[in-house]
């Protein structure tokens, strides 16, 4: 790992309030700049929780999670919100878009809330990203609801990438797509992240696509809290 880490977790432990045992117990996990990491494991092994910890939505009980060298825990909630949007793009499994905004306005959303993601040429950048995602210009002013699921995920990817955040976190973004669309989506997502210089943390339980990433991490293998559950998909 020659490039410096954009995300770094050390001696990370986290338990949901009221839970008897921690659900995350990771000695070390790093994501280098520009790297595309495939994080996989069966459901219930703590994938979503780890993503929330990496994105600073949740804060570790013990140990640290650093984004670009800054520990999330040292920041108050509002500062975490600001820092997250400044450096992290997020793609959900589905329903990524606000139905009452046009496609292009959905892409521009992070620019509305974050000065770091904003730039004078934000609109041009959004159009460029949408074009790169293979979305026809005729779709841009349309309501997000008029798009197919595959198209919606591409808009979400464009939104995650606008303003060149250092990290893009994708939480099972292909699970609602059929095989052809999945491959096409991965093509555009991976190439756009590369062109953008953004590191990608891609979570999925679908190991067939693992080969397309520069590194694969099996979460139960590094999460000691999930290990006793044994078998994985």
């Amino acid at each position: 790992m020659s490039a410096p880490a954009v995300l770094q977790a050390r001696a990370l432990r986290f338990a949901w309030p009221g839970a008897p045992a921690p659900c995350i117990d990771i000695a070390q996990f790093e994501v280098a700049a520009g790297e595309a990491v495939f994080l996989h494991g069966p459901s219930g092994c703590g994938k979503s929780t780890l993503l929330s910890l990496l994105a600073g939505v949740l804060v570790a009980d013990a140990g640290s999670v650093q984004l670009l060298g800054q520990d999330w825990r040292t920041l108050p909630a509002a500062a975490r919100d600001r820092r997250r949007v400044a450096h992290v793009g997020y793609i959900f499994q589905q329903f990524n878009l606000l139905p009452y905004l046009s496609v292009i306005d959905n892409v521009l959303l992070p620019c509305r809330f974050s000065r770091a993601r904003r730039s004078p040429d934000a609109r041009a950048q959004a159009e460029q990203l949408l074009a790169r995602m293979g979305l026809d210009a005729a779709l841009w002013p349309r309501s997000a609801l008029q798009l197919s699921v595959g198209q919606q995920q591409r808009v979400a990817a464009a939104r995650a990438l606008i303003g060149r955040p250092e990290v893009v976190i994708a939480d099972e973004p292909t699970s609602a797509l059929d095989e052809d669309r999945r491959e096409a989506f991965l093509d555009v997502l991976l190439s756009a992240c590369e062109a953008n210089g953004s590191a990608l943390v891609f979570v999925s339980h679908d190991r067939r696509i693992a080969g397309r990433f520069s590194r694969q991490v099996l979460l139960p293998a590094i999460n000691r809290a999930a290990a006793p559950q044994g078998t994985h998909a």
């Binding site: 919100d81 997020y90 959900f92 959303l109 992070p110 809330f113 939480d171």
Partner: protein, 423 residues
């Protein structure tokens, strides 16, 4: 903040059907509140303007409210009359400037008939000491030549379509079952301009005419076998024997209590004198309870509408957890989420209040003339009063505060959900 406002507006527009129902219910509550407030103030104004410029009202001893009710509002009836001798004695009191006797008891097609003297047109004042004005014709005259002349109020003229020259007959009594004075018809000689007081709903005739009508009557019924034709009444003494009440003006208002005392200790018969302003206040305290209840009721309606707003937004919140998560993922903090819902509440309440205010204005413009002619309520379209502004502000504030409730819930939800809402 500007970005948030745009998003709040678009999000609300996206749910416009549900929200428009809420807007409508808030609009109706606003309409009701404004309407009741307007009618209330108007009622009070009309009420307190019913008589002014009169220092004392004198009648047979009874309750002050009752005396006011029948002498000014033509409601109810006197239990006893004031003899003409007492009225004359009152007129000779050194402190008294004028006395206008009033005699009630007859009616014309549901409108009260008031027998009085020509002094009534000269001395009676209403509202802000405004004198009576004639819209058409002239006041009835003095003397036997002008005996069967009548002057009608604006409502009487408008509703019955009377103009000077119209011949009318009066009925004895004021109820449904009235017997006629058909044998002695009157001629309308004048129509009074609108006053917004009970005067509008009154037929005015001379005291002598009232006496003439009842020459062949005894004990409230026509004397059997006795008919005195109209053309012969002038041969009789038409000086009134008694009247119902008298309006009194003083030379010096400072003497009002001494004259009042003189009346209540008058030896000839038990009399009382009331100060119209004081009696009006007393009466308003009674009537005002109903008016306050009405206002409280509209307040409750407003409360229910705001409750509707809260429940609609709260119910929709679960479906919006996705939306809130997306917003959080693109950099909106929980505080933004709270602000978003507060903005939405403000938009919805604002639109509702605006719509309600517009409806109220339209309603007043459309129904004003009808209310005026039907109930004598002078509702005029005018800028909101201070009270009405306060009501509107209270509605806006309450609506906005109510919308904080779902806002706080959303705040908690988005804190708990983080970026992955558990639905």
């Amino acid at each position: 903040m500007k970005a948030l406002l745009a998003i709040a507006w678009k999000s609300a527009w996206n749910r416009r059907f549900t929200l428009s129902l809420t807007v409508l219910s808030i609009a109706l509550a606003t309409l009701l509140l404004l309407g009741v407030e307007r009618i209330r103030t108007e009622l009070r104004d009309n009420f307190s303007s019913a008589v002014s410029g009169t220092d004392l009202i004198v009648g047979a001893r009874t309750g002050s409210t009752q005396l006011l009710l029948y002498s000014v509002f033509r409601i109810g009836a006197a239990t006893n009359n004031v003899s003409w001798k007492s009225v004359q004695a009152l007129g000779e009191h050194p402190g008294v400037a004028w006395v206008v006797p009033l005699s009630l008891g007859d009616s014309h097609r549901g409108f009260a008939v008031l027998a009085t003297t020509t002094g009534y047109f000269e001395h009676f004042r209403y509202g802000d000491r405004q004198p009576l004005a004639l819209r058409a014709g002239r006041p009835f005259g003095d003397g036997v030549d002008h005996l069967f002349e009548a002057v009608v109020g604006a409502d009487v003229a408008d509703q019955l379509g009377y103009a000077p020259g119209q011949r009318i007959t009066l009925a004895h009594g004021t109820g449904e079952l009235t017997t006629g004075h058909d044998d002695k018809p009157f001629t309308v000689v004048g129509v009074l301009a609108r006053t917004g007081t009970p005067v509008d709903r009154t037929v005015h005739i001379g005291l002598e005419a009232m006496q003439a009508l009842h020459l062949d009557w005894v004990g409230g019924a026509p004397m059997p076998g006795v008919r005195i034709p109209a053309e012969q009444v002038r041969k009789f003494d038409l000086a009134p024997k008694s009247v119902t009440a008298a309006l009194v003006g003083l030379k010096n208002r400072a003497a009002v209590f001494s004259v009042q005392r003189w009346v209540s200790t008058y030896g000839g018969e038990p009399l009382m004198a009331i100060l119209p302003g004081v009696a009006l206040d007393e009466l308003w305290q009674v009537v005002g309870v109903g008016e306050k209840a009405l206002l409280a009721m509209s307040g409750l309606v407003a409360l229910v509408s705001l409750g509707g707003l809260v429940s609609v937004v709260l119910a929709g919140l679960n479906e919006r957890r996705r939306e809130l998560a997306v917003l959080r993922a693109v950099g909106a903090g929980p505080r933004h989420v709270l602000a978003l819902l507060a903005l939405e509440g403000a938009i919805v309440t604002g639109l509702g209040v605006l719509l309600g205010g517009t409806l109220a204005a339209l309603g007043i413009a459309a129904l004003g003339p009808w209310l005026q002619s039907r109930f004598g309520l002078a509702l005029a379209l005018s800028a909101p009063t201070l009270n009405e502004w306060a009501l509107l502000a209270a509605l806006l504030a309450a609506g906005w505060l109510a919308s904080l409730l779902p806002g706080i819930r959303a705040y908690r939800l988005s804190l708990a959900d983080g970026l992955s809402p558990r639905i």
